[in-house]
């Protein structure tokens, strides 16, 4: 697999771990990974938003256990630190959806430097998702 595109929508701490872990796995093999963050998940591409990610719903009370498990597994427990680790592979590009940015308050002023920028979904879907060897949606 040479390339993979991932759209991330779910923004709770536990649910965002899976696409980040999959990206880390494939990027470590040299696969080019392009990730588009949409809806609430776009806030994960801000330092404040990444730090604010929590487990919600029926598993909210188990957050400490999950964070401990993440650290034991060897991943940094903070989402921003995982993003930095992925960026460090040199194979992962992070994009913020422009619609999501406009709705949920993410702009070029608060976007983390690890992100490539704010892009339209049409560009991502046609230039990245449609051309990727593999495409995932979370």
């Amino acid at each position: 697999m040479n390339s993979m595109a991932i759209v991330v929508r779910d923004d709770s701490y536990d649910k965002i771990l899976t696409p980040l872990a999959f990206a880390y796995l494939t990027a470590s093999e040299g696969t080019q990974v392009d990730m588009l963050f949409v809806n609430w998940a776009v806030k994960a591409l801000t330092a404040e938003g990444a730090a604010a990610l929590r487990i919600d719903g029926q598993h909210a009370a188990e957050e400490a256990m999950v964070r401990e498990g993440v650290a034991k597994a060897g991943l940094p427990p903070e989402v921003y630190d995982i993003i930095k680790a992925l960026k460090g592979t040199g194979c992962v590009n992070f994009y913020a959806c422009s619609l999501a940015g406009a709705i949920f308050g993410v702009n070029e002023g608060n976007l983390i430097p690890e992100a490539e920028g704010i892009v339209g979904a049409a560009w991502f879907l046609n230039e990245k998702a449609a051309k990727a060897d593999h495409y995932q949606y979370f």
């Binding site: 880390y24 796995l25 470590s28 093999e29 991943l75």
Partner: protein
């Protein structure tokens, strides 16, 4: 116990997916062709991950043993 001459050992004990594979990818890059990487793991997911990774990446899995919950792989770097 394998008699393979190990060049380098990567101990991923306690770590889980994706870290054993992320660290294996990093470790193999640091080796020369012909070197043997020993990977120690406790993540049972590596039972399938490492053999398939070897096949995909063109490396040779020389041995795979499991004792007391500890998995030990010897991988020769071919490319």
């Amino acid at each position: 116990m394998s008699e393979t001459q190990v060049t380098s050992t990567l101990d991923t004990t306690g770590k889980c997916c994706p870290m054993p594979m992320v660290e294996t990818n990093k470790a193999i890059k640091a080796l020369a062709i012909g070197d043997v990487l020993e990977i120690i793991a406790t993540d049972v997911g590596t039972r399938k991950d490492i053999p398939s990774w070897c096949e995909r990446m063109g490396q040779s899995l020389l041995s795979m043993t499991e004792e007391g919950g500890v998995l030990r792989y010897h991988v020769r770097k071919n490319r």
